[in-house]
Amino acid sequence: MNDLWRVASAEALKLKRTLALRLAIGAPMIIVLLVFGIYLQRGGPMAGANPLTGYAQLILTIWTIIVLPLYAALAAALLSSIEHQNESWKHLLALPVRRATYFVAKWIAGTGLLFLSSLVLVTGVLATDAILRVVISIWSSSSLPVAMIFRGAALSFCAAGLLFSIQMWISLRWRSFLPGIVVAVIALALMFIAIPRGAAFFGSLFPWSLPAMAMAPVNPYRPIAVGLGLMGGAAVGAIACWMLSRREFC
C-alpha cells in the first residue's frame, strides 16, 4: 500500500504542465462557457418553467454524452503517452516496485483527472448561474437545481468507470495514441447511431453511453448504468493491470 501511495504521488507530479491536466479544467470550462454564452445572447428565458434547470441540464447533457467519454479517452491516451513517448517504462519497471503498482497508479491518476473535470463542471455551472442571475434580472428569482447538478455529475462520473478502464487498457497496451482515440470515436458514433434505435436497456450496457444513461433523470435502468460503470470499471481495471504487469514493455 505504501508503494502504491508513493507511485501515485509520483504520478501526480508527472501531471504537472501536461495537456491532460489542462484539459481536465479546460474541457468542462469550455462547455460551461459555451452554454453560458448562448444563454447570455438570448437574454431571456428559454422553454420550461425554470430556465436555470434547463441551463444546468443542457450543460450536463453535452458533458455526459460527448465531452466526458471523449475526455476519458483523451486523458487515458495522454496519461499513457507520458511513459510511452519518453520511453520511461524501462526506467520504472527496473525499479524495485511491483509492476502492477504502476498501472494501478495510472488508473488512480486518470480517475483523479475525471473527478477534477466533474468538479470543475459543477463549479462552473454554479459560478455562471450566479452571473446569469445578475445579468438577466428576470432570472434572479429562479433557483438552480443544485442537488440535480451534483447528482448528475456524480452518477455520470461513476458510470464513466467502465469506459475509462477500457480506454486506459488500450492506451497502455499500445504505444500509439491512435488505437484509443479510434476506439472512442467509433464507440461514440455507434452510440449516436445505434442506441437511439434500440432499447434503453441496451444503452445501459454500452460502456460509452453509461454516463448519459446515469445522468438521465427518468431512466429505470440508471442503477444498472451506474453499477456497471463502477463495478465493470473496477473489474476491467483489475484484469488490465494484471495483464499489463505480465507484458514486456521494451
Binding site: A10, L13, R17, T18, N86, L92, L95, P96, V97, R98
Partner: protein
C-alpha cells in the same frame, strides 16, 4: 563463490521467434570493477541488459545480482541497482529537479538526496529548467543522476555515451570513474565505442551474435591476443617457415613479420625455429593492439581461440 560477483548469469538465453538474441551467456562481473560489455550493434548487449533488469524474461538460465536470484516475484533484488538503458528516460515537461523527485518518491528516499545528486552531476544550476531545454550531454548526466539517486552498489548502463560529443564523453568517463573508485560502485557498461571502454574499463566482456566470446581483464585480453612482431632481413623466408610450422602470419612487410601467437612460450619456439632454419632474428616484440583491433579480430574469428 556467488557472493564475489555483482552479476552472475548461468546459461542465460532469450529468443525472439526463431532468432536467438542471447545464447547461453555466462557473465561473471566481479564487485567493484568497471566492466565493459562490448559488441557490435545487434550483438545482444541491450537484450542482455534488459534481462538483467527484469525488463525481459529469460527463456532459460538464471540471473544472480549481488548473489540473489532475480525472479518475477523478487523485485527487491533490484533495490541495489541503478540503470540507464539506452536514452535516459526523462519527462521533458518536468524540470531536472522534478524528474529526480519522481524517482525519489517511488524509492522513498530522503529529500536531501536530490540536491546532493544534482551537485554531484553538475546540474544544480539547471535544476529548475524544463528538461526539454537540456542539451544531450545534460540529459545524459541527468539519466546518470537518476540511476545514481538510490546510491546503488551496482550501476547497469546501456550505451551511456550514445550521441555525446568528445567533451561529453570525457565528462561521463570522469563521473563513472568517480563512482567506481571513490564510491566503490560496480559499473556494468555496454558500448560499441571501443576506445571509450578501453579508457575506463577494468574488465571486458565481448558478445557477438548473442554469444560471449571473451570475458576477463583488459590486460588479459590484450596479452592473449597481441600478435608477435619480429624483425629479420629475410622476412619472406621467415613467413614461409612459420606458416609451414602452423603459425598464422598476419603481416609480412618491409623486414618485419607479424605472427599470431596464443602464448609467450610460442615466442621462444618461433625464435628457435627461425634460427634452426638459418634466419636471423634481430628483434621480437608483442605489438600493442588497440581494443578496436582486438575486438574486430575476435568478432571475425569467433573468439580468442577461434580461427577465421
Amino acid at each position: 563463490m556467488i557472493d564475489s560477483f555483482a552479476i552472475e548469469t548461468r546459461g542465460l538465453t532469450r529468443r525472439f521467434g526463431s532468432r536467438t538474441a542471447v545464447d547461453s551467456i555466462e557473465l561473471c562481473v566481479p564487485r567493484g570493477v568497471i566492466y565493459g560489455f562490448l559488441g557490435p550493434n545487434g550483438a545482444g548487449k541491450t537484450t542482455t541488459i534488459r534481462l538483467l533488469l527484469g525488463l525481459l524474461h529469460a527463456d532459460c538460465g538464471s540471473i544472480l545480482l549481488n548473489g540473489q536470484f532475480l525472479t518475477k516475484e523478487r523485485r527487491e533484488v533490484l533495490r541495489d541497482i541503478g540503470a540507464l538503458v539506452e536514452t535516459p528516460s526523462l519527462y521533458p515537461h518536468l524540470t531536472g529537479q522534478e524528474n529526480l523527485e519522481v524517482t525519489r518518491r517511488i524509492l522513498n528516499l530522503p529529500r536531501s538526496r536530490i540536491a546532493d545528486t544534482l551537485a554531484l552531476f553538475g546540474l544544480t544550476a539547471d535544476a529548475h529548467r524544463p528538461v526539454r531545454n537540456y542539451s544531450l550531454g545534460m540529459r545524459q548526466r541527468l539519466g546518470l543522476a537518476l540511476a545514481w539517486l538510490g546510491h546503488p552498489g551496482l550501476m547497469i548502463l546501456d550505451e551511456p555515451a550514445n550521441g555525446l560529443d568528445p567533451s561529453g564523453m570525457r565528462e561521463l568517463r570522469d563521473h563513472l570513474r568517480q563512482l567506481a573508485h571513490e564510491r566503490h560502485v560496480t559499473v556494468f557498461l555496454s558500448s560499441h565505442v571501443l576506445n571509450e571502454v578501453e579508457q575506463i574499463a577494468d574488465w571486458i566482456g565481448i558478445i557477438h551474435h548473442g554469444r560471449l566470446l571473451f570475458q576477463g581483464r583488459l590486460e588479459e585480453l590484450q596479452r592473449y591476443q597481441s600478435p608477435l612482431k619480429l624483425a629479420t632481413d629475410r622476412s619472406s623466408n621467415a613467413a614461409a617457415v612459420l606458416e609451414a610450422q602452423g603459425w598464422r602470419v598476419l603481416e609480412n612487410f618491409d623486414g618485419a613479420v607479424t605472427v599470431e601467437v596464443p602464448s609467450d612460450t610460442d615466442a621462444a619456439l618461433i625464435n628457435r625455429c627461425l634460427l634452426e632454419h638459418g634466419i636471423p632474428v634481430y628483434r621480437l616484440e608483442r605489438r600493442p593492439e588497440s581494443l578496436e583491433e582486438l575486438f574486430l579480430r575476435l568478432v571475425s574469428s569467433g573468439g580468442p581461440g577461434g580461427t577465421q
